[in-house]
């Protein structure tokens, strides 16, 4: 066993954090997922983006065993979610999108039960740390039904982390959480990522995904329409936009093909690379046009998102 392993490539020995192969799922007449293929490596900070109804939660639910795929294979750290469900579930912590709670119990009771379900008897130190990190310490003995929406969401995050899962999946963890706490929540999640936990998140706040995630998958109608590093997606899809104010206010013919609209006196040109900027300025100089104002606008994930969703 050992002797065989030492001859393999390192990437063959360490399994991917998440492996999804040809997953299909249908709800009645709705084809929620059609042939999803996705691999997330250990240690990644991964975003799963897409419009409402794209199938993000469905995919997460199937990965967590909350729903069953019609076909396809899924594994967490190499453990098949059906055949080896115990190991798979021990390896993953999921924050569900729905704000659910048990009206009978307090925050601390919920966290103790959740630890117990994962086979952990005495988890007080880690529960206390989770409460502290998620600013819930003074609510520890309050009934969850008495907490505000944002606090309930943070309890869900704490519940997902009781067993220190190597793979953490957060389905819109910041919906309804205020700005300050969102920042501290991300700081906490980022630290977990630095400690080696793999993070997968969905969010509709695209600036969050852009700031945090090194790789992005975009889902649309149950299909992966883009899968790349955040940096590549940004540069490949939306290029940059140049905003010009010129006298006389008339764009030279040679630049017409770059034009992407006009905003009053401002001409908008879309470029693929910064390198093209030089060419644009040269054309303007040769045509005797004077530049009064120039602005370079970088695209963000939102532009990429809108472009992909539209197409």
């Amino acid at each position: 066993m050992t002797s065989r392993n030492c001859c393999l490539q390192p990437e063959l020995v360490t399994p991917a954090a998440i492996e999804i192969h040809q997953v299909h799922k249908r709800f009645g007449s709705v084809q929620a997922l059609c042939g999803i293929d996705l691999t997330v490596q250990q240690g990644e900070f991964f975003a799963l983006l897409g419009p409402n109804g794209a199938g993000k939660s469905t995919l997460i639910n199937i990965l967590a065993g909350l729903a069953l795929a019609d076909s396809g294979r899924l594994a967490v750290l190499g453990h098949d979610v059906r055949a080896d469900y115990r190991q798979a579930r021990r390896s993953i912590g999921v924050v569900p999108q729905e704000l659910v709670y048990d009206a009978f119990f307090t925050v601390r009771e919920m966290l103790r039960f959740q630890s117990g379900y994962f086979g952990i008897r005495n988890n007080k130190a880690w529960i206390d740390e989770l409460l502290e990190r998620l600013a819930l310490t003074d609510k520890a003995d309050a009934y969850v039904r008495h907490l505000s929406g944002g606090m309930k969401r943070r309890v869900l995050v704490a519940q997902a982390l009781v067993h220190k899962p190597p793979v953490i999946v957060l389905d819109e963890p910041t919906a309804g959480v205020d700005v300050a706490l969102r920042q501290s929540l991300w700081a906490f999640i980022r630290r977990l990522n630095q400690q080696g936990h793999t993070i997968v998140l969905t969010t509709h706040y695209l600036e969050e995904a852009e700031a945090l995630c090194n790789r992005v998958a975009m889902l649309k109608q149950g299909q992966v329409v883009a899968l790349d590093t955040t940096a590549n997606l940004l540069s490949r899809h939306a290029g940059i936009q140049l905003r010009l104010k010129i006298t006389p206010p008339c764009l030279p013919d040679a630049l017409q093909e770059l034009s992407c609209g006009r905003d009053g006196e401002v001409f908008k040109l879309s470029l693929h690379h910064h390198a093209e900027l030089e060419n644009v300025l040269a054309v303007l100089r040769e045509s005797g046009v004077e530049v009064e104002d120039l602005e370079v606008v970088k695209p963000d994930l939102e532009d990429v998102f809108l472009e992909l969703v539209k197409s």
């Binding site: 909350l66 659910v100 039960f113 117990g116 379900y117």
Partner: protein
Amino acid sequence: MTGLLTLFYKELLRFWKVSLQTVLSPLVTTLLYLLIFSHVLESHVQVYSEVNYTAFLVPGLVMMAMLQNAFSNSSSSLIQSKMTGNIVFMLLPPLAYWEFFVAYVAASVARGAVVGLGVGLAGLWFVPLTLAHPLWMLAFAVLGCAILGAAGIIASLWADNYDQMAAVQNFIIVPLTFLSGVFYSIHSLPPFWQAVSHANPFFYLIDGFRYGFFGVSDVSPLLALTIVATCFLALSLATLLLLKSGYKLRK
């Protein structure tokens, strides 16, 4: 084992936290039955020659309360978790389907035992009771609660809303418990209804349970135990298969 024990403990704590509703209220209802029926029927109903009617009634009422509360416990807990969505907390961890089953059934037995003990002790105030065969009594009590605990799991898995759940309770469980010989010996029934009663598994539970107290019964306790144990095994198997398949839990 920790997962199973935690789930069991959570279920105990759940009914204990609302014990006014889950323990005290069935206790009061059952005692009202005892008060009224024993008063009205004492001199009219002939049961076993050597047992007076109130003494006959008490074990029947104890068993009825146990069965109904065992059913309520698993069914109301699960349907609430399903409807509010917090069932995910139990579906995400690596709990095996059989652990789920054992925890819910054990909690049902516990709730049944607490309510049954309460009714039994209160009954002593009305009439002195002796235990002829305590182990027989215990066997029927535990099997009865376990059967109803399992039935509660099946019903709450099947039901899509509280209304359907209430329908099972009111149209199946309550009639079956009432028509099982709690208030009368089936020997006092016309032959047709005697035959019908023999098709009701609850009849064997009550009859066998009563045997534990008086040492007399309508049918042989061994036959009753065999039928009851078979029911328990069949229902457990059905429940386990449903849980394993993820029926209405894992979409």
